[in-house]
């Protein structure tokens, strides 16, 4: 389980962020005091940091520079400032991504997942039951049989696979598609899911995607 450390002085945001991350299956913790921020952060052994720019004592950019001297842990900067200059600065100090408050929680989770995935190295292939999935080619292979998915179908399948045996809401699927410049509407999403189901069924995986009424979908 990946551990995410939240560095943010607004306590209500800390708590809600922690809950959000825990619901998503991460281990979440937040910094309780900023007295020895740098040491506490390094000792926490987190897999990823969510770092706010406006924090007491030291600003986030300075803190990031100090962290970078000692550690390569991935950092996402979070801020309510809307100046573009901050972004340039953060990136040059070594932040991996940058997100502005108030953020869309689904997008934040997407960014976190993307970075953690990049860190783990293998982000192009995965396995599903007895088949090999190749995300960039958009194919699922079993033995010498190959199933070709369209871009939208692959995006949907990838999210379901990343959350296998867990419920994925329609909203999450939608946000993911839109984040990939596929601005589909509700009908199109339904059509894409039923096509994906059909293709998987033909391939031998009958009832792979279950519909959970009023909640979403679940890949078995």
């Amino acid at each position: 389980m990946n551990k995410i450390l939240i560095i943010e002085d607004e306590i209500s945001i800390c708590l809600e962020l922690a809950e959000l991350l825990e619901n998503e299956g991460y281990e979440a913790d937040y910094l309780k005091s900023f007295e020895n921020a740098l040491e506490d952060i390094l000792n926490a052994n987190a897999d990823l940091l969510l770092l706010d720019i406006n924090i007491p004592r030291m600003n986030g950019e300075m803190l990031l520079r100090e962290i970078r001297k000692k550690s390569d842990v991935p950092v996402i900067m979070v801020t309510s400032r809307t100046g573009e200059v901050d972004e340039v600065l953060c990136m040059s100090y070594g932040a991996d991504d940058y997100i502005t408050k108030p953020y869309n929680p689904t997008i934040l989770l997407l960014r976190i997942a993307a970075i953690l995935k990049r860190m783990s190295g293998n982000n192009n292939t995965a396995s599903y039951r007895d088949a090999q999935v190749n995300f960039s080619k958009g194919t699922i292979c079993k033995g010498d049989k190959e199933l070709v998915l369209t871009k939208n179908e692959m995006i949907i399948f990838q999210i379901l696979l990343n959350n296998q045996n867990r419920i994925v809401t329609r909203d999450e699927l939608m946000t993911n598609l839109w984040d990939n410049d596929e601005f589909v509407n509700d009908n199109a999403l339904t059509v894409n899911i039923s096509r994906l189901r059909g293709k998987l069924a033909e391939f031998g995986y009958i009832d792979a995607i279950e519909t959970r009424k009023k909640q979403g979908y679940c890949l078995i």
């Binding site: 607004e10 962020l17 309510s80 573009e84 953020y103 869309n104």
Partner: protein, 337 residues
């Protein structure tokens, strides 16, 4: 400076000179002096009067004409004193001293207002950033407590966010400070961000969001452009028609050394007589009156931000059919993908 008016001003001198001449002539006549002496005396007296008047008149004319002429040509009239030399006559010296003092006092006054406005601007910016914290908290809370009410709440919170953002950019557009940073920005990324921001509303209102393949990179401030596009799309969502399937279509176009981003909806459109005025401050027009939701600020802010970034903005519309807004960017070949 006109000679006639100058003479009119000098009527006391002229009348007393006239009376003096008359009296001395009568005196001379009474003492039986010769006619020649009388004439010579008069000619000399008038001659010296003319020299004095001429000298005085041309000295003043030179100074005041230059002052008036410069005043007319200057853009910033309060700087006129700097463009003329200090006059060498007492009255002129007094005048320029007075103008100088008035200028100085007004400059101080203006400075005070400038400071007040700047303080206010800083306060508003800080306030907007502060208010974003509870907004962020609320959004996260809604997300964490998924229930049937979730969307409804999120929608209202997003409205709050949009309105506070509008305040921030209004403050920025009004003040000539460099809050922006020009970088190469792919239009695709801007469109994607704005789309996701408005995703829930677009889906709920069943508006088709159609985006053609995007490839151009433009030089702009990323966040400002997101705000601009967001305002345009908000308008399209606000003024949609009920009798058709609503759609918003975005595409790029290259014309000469310009790149255009078109945003076209099939909404209620804008009446022809209102079209030239939509970018004016506080202009609401017929649509604003009918919908009663318009502040008349959205497009005004968009226009002033575009002006500051050096982008063009065009608007076309046929009432009851469509509205098409086009943003015009300068093309830079280096940045083309």
């Amino acid at each position: 400076m006109k000679f006639g008016k100058y003479l009119k001003d000098k009527w006391v001198t002229l009348t007393s000179f006239g009376t003096f001449m008359l009296l001395t002539s009568v005196l001379l006549w009474l003492f039986h002096s010769s006619m020649e002496l009388l004439v010579m005396y008069s000619v000399l007296a008038v001659l010296f009067l003319l020299i004095d008047f001429g000298w005085d008149y041309f000295k003043r004319k030179k100074y005041y004409d230059k002052l008036l002429n410069n005043l007319e040509q200057l853009d910033k009239k309060y700087l006129v004193l700097e463009t003329v030399n200090e006059p060498d006559f007492y009255e002129g010296k007094l005048n320029s001293q007075i103008i100088y003092e008035i200028n100085k006092s007004m400059a101080e006054n203006v400075k005070q207002y400038e400071k007040n406005v700047l303080d206010f601007k800083e306060y508003i910016e800080m306030w907007v950033h502060e208010v974003k914290l509870p907004i962020s908290s609320l959004l996260l809370m809604c997300h964490n407590n998924k229930g049937n009410l979730e969307k409804k709440y999120i929608k209202q919170i997003k409205r709050l966010d949009n309105y506070t953002e509008q305040v921030l950019y209004y403050v920025r557009s009004e003040h000539a400070e460099k809050d922006y940073c020009i970088k190469e920005v792919p239009l695709k990324k801007v469109v994607r961000d704005v789309a996701i921001k408005n995703k829930d509303d677009l889906l709920e209102q069943e508006i088709d969001f159609i985006v053609d393949e995007m490839e151009y990179i433009v030089s702009t401030d990323y966040k400002w452009l997101v705000f601009i596009l967001n305002q345009i799309i908000s308008n399209s969502m606000k003024y949609k028609r009920k009798d058709v399937t609503s759609s918003i279509h975005l595409w790029e176009e290259e014309i000469g050394n310009r790149i255009l981003l078109h945003i076209r909806d099939n909404g209620i459109g804008i009446p022809e007589q209102d079209l030239p005025k939509v970018f004016e401050k506080s202009f609401t027009g017929e649509n604003g009156r009918k919908h009663a939701k318009s502040t008349g600020m959205g497009l005004y802010i968009v226009k002033s931000l575009c002006d500051r970034l050096g982008h063009g903005i065009l608007i076309k519309s046929v009432e009851g059919e469509y509205t098409e807004v086009s943003l015009v960017f300068a093309k830079n070949d280096f940045y083309k993908m």
